[in-house]
Symmetry: C2
Subunit: 335 residues, 2 copies
């Protein structure tokens, strides 16, 4: 007998992509087509750099999957999928200017390769292009969803800016920030997919809830991993948020439980930004002492559960099961 | 008899504002209301700085006037007027980052008072808000107009960036740049006002043409004034475009007529950016020699005429006459 060792199964996002291969090829063609600018060749140059850097295309896949689960048989969901990828890419371009970040997806950011000017203006161009694409679908309700998501995204970004270094940041504000940063576009992606399919209200609501909870779970997990996960393992990528004095969930929970002496520590390192050798280790010790890391993990798991439960009322479909796996997958790194 | 000296008449933009006082008050209230952000007070802080700096509100007035001329009696034109002002303000915010300009409308720019981050993100917020406002009107055709205008604006900005310092810039490219910079939002403002009123196609087309030609005339005049007007009078604000090596119409015309020696001069000062004492005077002398300044003035006057002629098919209305005066007014400074 030639027993073969079990081949490890690919992650759900890979299997979703395989399931949607034909749709995704159409979306990619649409993206290339709409990036083009006859007179401003700088535009595709900048965006191709980002779009072809091999992001997972998670957001367009959410739109396509939502539409297919709801039985959609047209092509407008492809336009909406390209729309959300353009919006996502535009926010990355603007974030790069804003954060003065040097790398994105393992490559130098556009604003280092070209300049801030190109990043701002090409981002604006992508917003405009996404706007044209969604108007082409002719659905006012979809336009309403995406307009509201845009406002939540922009407000969240400004909020993140003003909340940075502010120890008064609450979990409620944190939730608004991560909805803007991640969940608002996830939920708009799934909701728009359902709406364009003419799905019943309950299914539209379920897919909105799924995208919202998935995005929140994803972002909390990401923020927790920045502290090495719930076991607080220090690695080479640990502590970026701490050094940038960002108020993410583990830190907010530790600050809320701090005694007077601990509070003075947080004020020094976060508010004043006076960080010394050993401070990250001290921060992790305080988070562990107050159970802030495990509490953040539990929150992420609860949002992941909520995402999976919201799928239950949807019609049976292989993509429904894959979306459920995806919700488990995004928190698997912190378990 | 108490003969009084004639009181000089106010400019047409002031009389248009007076004629639309009630509408404008509603638009201003809408702008204040929609700028507000419960959790991000930075947003109204930044935008109020710009919006209340006393711009002429020319763009919202164009929308309101177009709607009124077409006999509109609803309120949606006010939402569209606020929309175009938000788009305009957002582009100013993004331009300020891009140009690293230090002053705007006589005040320090937002990016000096706050930072680049706020300018980029608050600009995005205003775009999102304008998007919500236009969706509220429920007119897909208006959304299409504004989506297309947004793309022309963004593409024009990128084009301006890549065309700077490039002596190969043609008048055709210049026209695309200034449509993006000025005329696209003017024509979208007037066209949207006509569409929301349910005006006949010929009137919609006429108001589009008016806004387009008005914007082009306005921008050529502005660019010509940067060289002191057609008489090339050097003043304290003369030559900014020359120093920034921008390819505006007078320069493009002078370069097109240059002999070999003159071409070497343009290459040194514009392409290489090696500018010395007396170079601006030399540039003006060359423009005068080739009639570039008077030719640019003639172009502006021709566009102004086109704007006025396009109004002829519209119904009689005091605002129609004022728009006609406005088209003459924007080129009166260069006559």
């Amino acid at each position: 007998m030639n027993a073969q060792p079990d081949k490890p199964q690919a992650g759900p996002e890979v299997r979703i992509a395989a399931h949607l291969a034909e749709d995704m090829a159409a979306v990619n063609a649409l993206i290339r087509d709409r990036m083009a600018s006859e007179h401003a060749p700088r535009i595709p140059e900048v965006t191709a750099h980002l779009i072809e850097a091999g992001g997972k295309r998670l957001r367009p896949m959410l739109t396509l999957a939502a539409a297919r689960i709801c039985g959609y048989e047209g092509n407008d969901h492809q336009k909406l999928a390209a729309t959300v990828e353009f919006i996502h890419t535009a926010t990355l371009l603007h974030d790069d200017v804003v954060d003065e970040s040097e790398r994105r997806r393992g490559r130098p950011t556009a604003n280092l390769l070209w300049d801030n000017k190109s990043s701002v203006l090409v981002g604006d161009y992508l917003f405009a292009r996404s706007f044209q694409l969604m108007v082409e679908t002719g659905s006012l309700r979809v336009l309403d969803i995406l307009a509201n998501a845009s406002a939540v995204i922009a407000e969240g970004e400004v909020l993140q800016l003003t909340a940075a270094q502010d120890l008064g940041t609450t979990e409620e504000i944190y939730l608004k920030v991560i909805r803007g940063k991640t969940a608002a576009l996830f939920s708009a992606a799934t909701e728009a997919g359902a709406v364009i399919s003419g799905a019943p209200e309950a299914q539209i609501r379920a897919l909105y809830d799924y995208g919202d909870a998935l995005g929140i779970a994803f972002q909390i997990a990401d923020d927790l991993l920045d502290y090495g996960g719930s076991a607080a393992a220090i690695g080479k990528n640990t502590g970026d948020d701490f050094r940038e004095r960002k108020l993410t969930l583990p830190l907010i929970k530790a600050v809320a439980a701090a005694d007077a002496e601990e509070r003075a520590f947080w004020q020094r390192v976060i508010e004043k930004g006076d960080q010394r050798e050993g401070d990250l280790e001290q921060a992790l010790a305080l988070m562990t002492k107050h159970g802030a890391l495990t509490a953040a993990r539990d929150d992420a798991l609860a949002w992941s559960d909520k995402a999976r439960k919201s799928l239950e009322i949807l019609p049976e479909h292989p993509l429904r099961d894959l979306l459920s796996e995806l919700a488990a997958y995004v928190v698997s790194r912190i378990n």
